[in-house]
């Protein structure tokens, strides 16, 4: 690479002095520019991803990760192996060493080290693995508990997570038979507790695909859900005894005498397509999620979560949670507060760019995080089939919205660093809106009931670390999206991430903030309806083919299409060039964006969510661009257009 550049330089130099001059001039300009404005910082400037190398021949399709007190880390895999990795931190470029501790388990998806043994969840059994003769190989495979299965592949079992009493929690997927079905085997769709004597105690139901859950420092169980039937979008719910978290598959077992819910059938569930907040008013056991993770923006397949109990070793987010997404190979962040005794809170982007499908995360002993990955059968943004990486805070302070919390008349945002007051007081630097999803038996949901939530005023705290947002149209039961652009810290850096989503299940009581009514001249919020970007170049019909690919790139990002689709590469969804090959009309693409037909793409594991909230004009622009990809000649034209710009 380096050599190639050098020779290119030489060619240019020999051919034409004038060009060389231009190049040098360009470099100089860039340098001047760099002095006046700092280089934009990215996630990797604060949180570094370190790869734990895996020997050739080991298929480390991670299902569970269990760091050990002695600095080793154990990993269980979907092929049923448990590997103990010595020297996983790999200081000074040293190598890790892998020992096969156990094997032959059935799709083990959870592993915990506890009092000298490993506890591993297989499809149909919680197994205690113990090495009794000191050779680093388990010789006792004790069945702590086992449960029925129907034989359906989707009946995955996860855990265990220990509580303070030494009891263990497990979560059980429902079967997939074209919809989530729980009745094929007992307690599918449930959170269960395994008591020390091995008996199963059902705790809560309504679970669909609970791949990640945790018992937090308060002893509360939080679990992540994947978009699907009865689940409009990814979400995290606090599960208490007798809760029904939304998917009806597991209700079948409420007829059992030890069910903590009274007998309930799917007919008791308000399957109306109204917001879940409304449905929960009609069904007492229906538990609202503490935090919604809007589909495609905040992941597509919620996986593991862990609470930051590192005491600052991992950065400024002590007490918050990191939530992983398998399909998008990334970590998100979640802050929780209790309002009226119930958890609710916000989620934020955090770190992208892991190598495979991030399914499991556990703290290492040094306050870094081990992230275990697999994508077989599902696909993920990270292209490897499996992997193990570590996420390490390098000690630099990211400029972030640290916490969004609810106030009686809006939100308070705490930042990780003092903010520039002038930029923070500029109301036009905030974009606020709210929306929610349908609660229904159908798979997924479009965004519904989107409305602006206009900002009345902003109060910056004395120490410049907080802003109080006073909002008109604060909407109970809605997801409130906060986008901040233009607020700077003392180093004139913008926020690392500009986005937060707060799930407002309850509005706290308290004193109202005193702000003067907003001036009518202050621009408030982007309208939720069609964007006002003038459709300037559209008039001449001949130019219609000349799609502005830069504008489309922005649209693809804005509407999160690029979370799942790339121009040329298969990600979670098909490449746009593949879509182009289907020769749809722009109008057909519009129809499919609003009402996707997953059956058109049988080779793709993840169904696309309906994106009917995207304005028609923008979808048609995207559609025109997609179709332009299908024509090789017009692609050349496109390049020309880009050069003109």
């Amino acid at each position: 690479m380096f050599a190639f550049r050098k020779s290119l330089f030489r060619t240019l130099y020999m051919k034409n002095y004038k060009y060389l001059f231009i190049i040098l001039l360009g470099l100089a300009t860039q340098q001047t520019f760099a002095q006046t404005k700092p280089k934009p910082l990215t996630e990797e400037d604060f949180y570094e991803i370190k790869t734990v190398t895996i020997p050739e021949g080991i298929k480390l399709e991670v299902g569970g990760v269990a760091p050990m007190p002695d600095g080793r880390v154990a990993v269980c895999t979907r092929r049923g192996e448990v590997w103990i990795i010595e020297n996983p931190y790999m200081p000074d470029g040293s190598q890790p060493s892998y020992t096969l501790f156990a094997s032959g388990l059935h799709e083990s998806l959870g592993l915990t080290y506890h009092e000298g043994s490993f506890y591993c969840t297989q499809r149909g059994e919680l197994t205690k693995l113990t090495d009794t003769d000191g050779d680093d190989k388990a010789d006792i495979y004790e069945s702590v508990a086992n449960w029925d299965l129907s034989g359906n592949y989707h009946e995955y079992s996860y855990g265990p997570e220990f509580d303070k009493n030494g009891d263990m929690y497990l979560t059980f997927n429902v079967a997939w038979v074209g919809y989530g079905e729980g009745k094929l085997a007992k307690w599918r769709g449930w959170l269960v507790k395994v008591k020390k004597d091995g008996t199963l105690e059902p705790v809560a139901t309504g679970l669909r695909s609970p791949a990640g859950f945790t018992v937090n420092s308060n002893g509360d169980v939080l679990y992540g859900e994947n978009q699907g039937d009865w689940v409009g979008s990814g979400r995290i719910t606090h599960l208490e005894k007798g809760d029904f978290a939304g998917n009806a598959g597991g209700l079948w077992w409420t007829k059992e005498p030890d069910s903590p819910l009274k007998p309930t059938t799917v007919k008791d569930v308000p399957d109306t397509g109204e917001p879940m907040y409304e449905a929960a008013k009609k069904m007492k056991s229906l538990k609202l999620p503490a935090v919604w993770f809007p589909h495609a923006i905040m992941g597509i397949s919620t996986a593991d979560m862990i609470e930051d109990q590192t005491g600052g070793k991992f950065g400024p987010f002590q007490g918050q949670y990191f939530v992983y997404d398998q399909g998008q190979s990334k970590a998100m962040r979640m802050s929780l507060e209790k309002v009226n005794g119930k958890y609710q809170g916000a989620c934020y982007p955090f770190r992208e760019g892991f190598q495979s499908g991030t399914i499991r995360a556990r703290w290492g002993n040094d306050g870094s995080m081990f992230v275990g990955m697999t994508s077989r059968g599902w696909g993920s943004t990270g292209k490897e089939l499996y992997g193990l990486q570590r996420l390490v805070w390098n000690g630099r302070m990211p400029f972030e919205m640290k916490t969004v919390s609810a106030r009686p008349d809006g939100f308070e945002i705490e930042f990780t660093q003092p903010i520039n007051k002038a930029t923070a007081e500029n109301l036009s630097n905030y974009e606020l809106k709210s929306f929610t999803y349908k609660y229904q038996h159908q798979y997924g949901s479009p965004i519904i009931n989107q409305e602006a939530t206009p900002l009345r005023g902003v109060i910056v705290s004395e120490d410049r670390t907080k802003v109080r947002l006073v909002i008109d149209n604060l909407r109970l039961g809605y997801i409130h999206q906060i986008t901040i652009n233009g607020i700077l810290n003392d180093q004139a850096q913008p926020l690392l991430h500009d986005l937060a989503f707060y799930t407002l299940n309850a509005i706290p009581e308290g004193e109202l903030a005193k702000v003067s009514p907003r001036s009518t001249t202050t621009p408030i919020v982007a309208s939720t309806k069609e964007t006002k970007t003038p459709v300037k170049k559209e008039a001449p019909k001949a130019a219609k083919e000349m799609v502005d690919s830069k504008q489309v790139a922005l649209l693809l990002k804005k509407y999160t299409c690029s979370a799942c689709h790339n121009e040329n590469t298969k990600l979670v969804g098909p490449a746009f060039t593949e879509v182009a090959k289907r020769n749809y009309t722009n109008e057909q693409i519009l129809e499919l964006v609003y009402k996707p037909k997953p059956e058109n793409w049988p080779d793709f594991a993840t169904e696309m969510a309906p994106m009917s909230h995207v304005p028609k004009a923008d979808v048609l622009k995207i559609a025109a661009w997609i179709n332009s990809l299908g024509v090789k000649k017009s692609k050349t034209d496109l390049n020309k257009i880009e050069n003109h710009d």
Binding site: H106, E107, R123, E125, K128, E142, N146, G151, Y153
Partner: protein, 610 residues
């Protein structure tokens, strides 16, 4: 995927099977005195000799004269070209025979039991060719050992299925194509597939290859017995076709009716093919042609297409509908000898899978003949193998396991370095399958999502009864319980033991009605089979009698003290004798069982040999 596989394995299912009646020797030419028809054959305490029972159905070769000689080979009256043949065979210890296709190409029959690395002289091999001019020690060449040793112990019935394609010749007698073994399954195990035979093997009746000849059974090397001969012969299809006219309609199609009734293109092709167009959806292709049959018969038409198609013969729709190529849509029609007209329609209204169209015609005892051009039907997408094999310690793998139609959800497979393996139902404490050879095919568990989540044996397999061997019975006549509940039998886990033969052999632990039971299985010393050993501790409930079910099957014959042949000599079971207790053979619910009373004992052991 499983469905697809089944289709691949049995594409010709439903064709005529011919049985060779073994009431006498009339189907053979001049059989020597060594060949007789018997009712049954066993080997007893002397494993090298047959004992026969009179009756019919079993073809036996034993030495009647002074010694075996070449004239003891047996030739069929049937002359065959392409042939599918299946039969059972049994050999006593050390014996040797062979099945010669067309008297020229030998599939070897030999006592190769327990041989770990079989060569091209072992049972199931396509025997090597022989050329003395190659020099001493190098005469043998171009033989094919079986992929793995699939032979059973002497005295047990083996089952073999051979699919043979005869060489072809032009009118002048010049060979056009070599003979070929399409496949050989020995005891259910695929040991050869698509092996071209470049010439006759050693011991052929003639070096001259021919289109048709009798099959031959080797009888000059020792005792051997056969039964259940079943075969199909295939003639070359002799239907002739004329070039075909095609019409291509562009646009949306409903019920084979194009919206635009004027064809976009027309023409003539030597054979129908979908490749005549490049469009992937919204088209109709129509082919009209004629073919001539030489004989009146029932003809089968096979359609392998992606999306929608139809085969119309003499204005009669024989096959139609939405299909995938792997579905082999079929229809029959009676045709007179002479010329017939046919129409093929093909349409597709989606893009995301490529066009594919294959049309075939077939008659009983005929190979199927393609009507469409070869590339019109796309190849199936192959699936890579993901397997598990033991190293110097056993490989253990839990999975779902198919047991008949039932999916066992808490199954475990154990593959031992000696090449013996078993699968086991952890909830029932029972064997599911026992096998020798390669260990485990895990493709359906580890490819993509692994939706079946099942694994399958890769060796010579014996099916077992999925029953926990211990039970309290009220008397020796009481039925043995089936399907234990967790209350009766509680699985506690397993321990990997360090044994003299090596580390990592599992012992399964159970609570059975107050007894602590340990169940362990290890290979026998020379890998002749598996040895199961159960120990039980605890108070036997007062007034109750504990029994062990050692074996069960349609038939049980005691062939030597404590040694039994089970299920028509499919495998052997040996009860490890004790000084005090003696096994009982009994019948219960229509099945024969070996029951061991356990009064006064703390353990019970038995061996399964195959």
């Amino acid at each position: 995927m499983l469905k697809k596989l089944l289709f691949l394995l049995f594409p010709l299912a439903g064709m005529a099977q011919n049985q060779i009646p073994l009431n006498d020797l009339s189907v053979f030419n001049n059989p020597s005195a060594n060949w007789t028809i018997e009712g049954g054959v066993t080997i007893g305490t002397n494993p090298s000799a047959f004992a026969t029972t009179t009756g019919k159905g079993v073809l036996v070769c034993t030495l009647r004269g002074a010694k075996y000689q070449l004239t003891d080979d047996l030739f069929s009256k049937l002359e065959h070209g392409d042939l599918k043949m299946s039969f059972d065979f049994m050999i006593p210890k050390g014996s040797n025979s062979g099945f010669y296709l067309q008297g020229r190409y030998e599939v070897q029959i030999l006592d190769s039991w327990l041989k770990k690395y079989p060569n091209d002289s072992d049972c199931g091999a396509i025997y090597h060719r022989w050329d003395e001019t190659r020099g001493k020690g190098n005469e043998g060449y171009q033989g094919h050992p079986p992929r793995q040793n699939a032979s059973k112990a002497p005295g047990l019935w083996n089952h073999i299925e051979i699919d043979f394609k005869a060489p072809t010749f032009d009118a002048s007698g010049k060979k056009l194509t070599n003979a070929r073994i399409n496949s050989v399954y020995l005891n259910g195990l695929l040991v050869h597939e698509n092996v071209e035979l470049l010439g006759v093997t050693r011991g052929a009746v003639s070096q001259q290859e021919v289109a048709k000849a009798p099959f031959r059974i080797q009888g000059d090397h020792g005792a051997v017995a056969f039964k259940n001969f079943s075969y199909e012969i295939f003639e070359k299809s002799d239907i002739s076709f004329t070039p075909v006219k095609y019409e291509y309609y562009d646009g949306v199609v409903t019920n084979f009716k194009p919206a635009n009734s004027t064809p976009t293109a027309t023409g003539t092709l030597p054979q129908p093919t979908q490749k005549v167009i490049s469009k992937k959806r919204d088209f109709l292709l129509k082919f009209d042609g004629k073919f001539t049959t030489k004989v009146a018969d029932n003809y089968t038409f096979i359609g392998q297409w992606e999306a929608m198609g139809a085969i119309i013969v003499d204005n009669d729709t024989v096959v139609t509908g939405w299909h995938l190529p792997a579905e082999y849509a079929k229809g029959k029609k009676k045709l007179s000898a002479g010329e017939h007209s046919y129409t093929i329609l093909y349409t597709k209204d989606y893009h995301w899978r490529p066009n594919s169209l294959g049309i075939f015609i077939q008659k009983d005892s005929w190979e199927k003949q393609a009507i469409t051009e070869r590339t019109s039907l796309l190849d199936m997408i192959p699936v890579p193998l993901i397997d598990v094999q033991p190293s110097d310690v056993p490989a253990i793998q839990r999975s779902f396991i198919m047991y008949g139609d039932k999916k066992i959800t808490h199954g475990i497979n154990v593959g031992m370095p000696s090449g013996l393996n078993f699968s086991y139902d952890l909830n029932q404490g029972g064997f599911l399958q026992l096998w020798r050879g390669k260990f485990l095919n895990a493709t359906d568990m580890w490819l993509d999502r692994g939706e079946p989540q099942t694994s399958a044996p890769m060796g010579l397999t014996i099916n077992a009864n999925d029953k926990f061997p211990l039970a309290y019975l009220t008397s020796a006549d009481a039925d043995f319980p089936e399907n234990l509940t967790k209350e009766d039998l509680f699985y506690k886990g397993y321990k990997l033991e360090k044994l003299a033969i090596g580390n990592g052999y599992p012992t399964f632990n159970y609570d059975y009605k107050g007894l602590k039971v340990k169940d362990s299985t290890t290979p026998l010393d020379k890998a002749e089979g598996l040895s199961r050993h159960l120990t039980f501790e605890g108070e036997i409930a007062a007034g109750k009698q504990l029994y062990a079910l050692i074996a069960e099957g349609t038939s049980i014959a005691e062939i030597a003290p404590n040694r039994y042949a089970i299920d028509n000599q499919n495998y052997y079971v040996e009860v490890v004798p004790t000084a005090t207790n003696k096994a009982i053979v009994r019948e219960s619910k229509g099945k024969k069982q070996i029951l061991m009373p356990l009064a006064g004992l703390k353990e019970v052991s038995y061996n399964i040999i195959f």
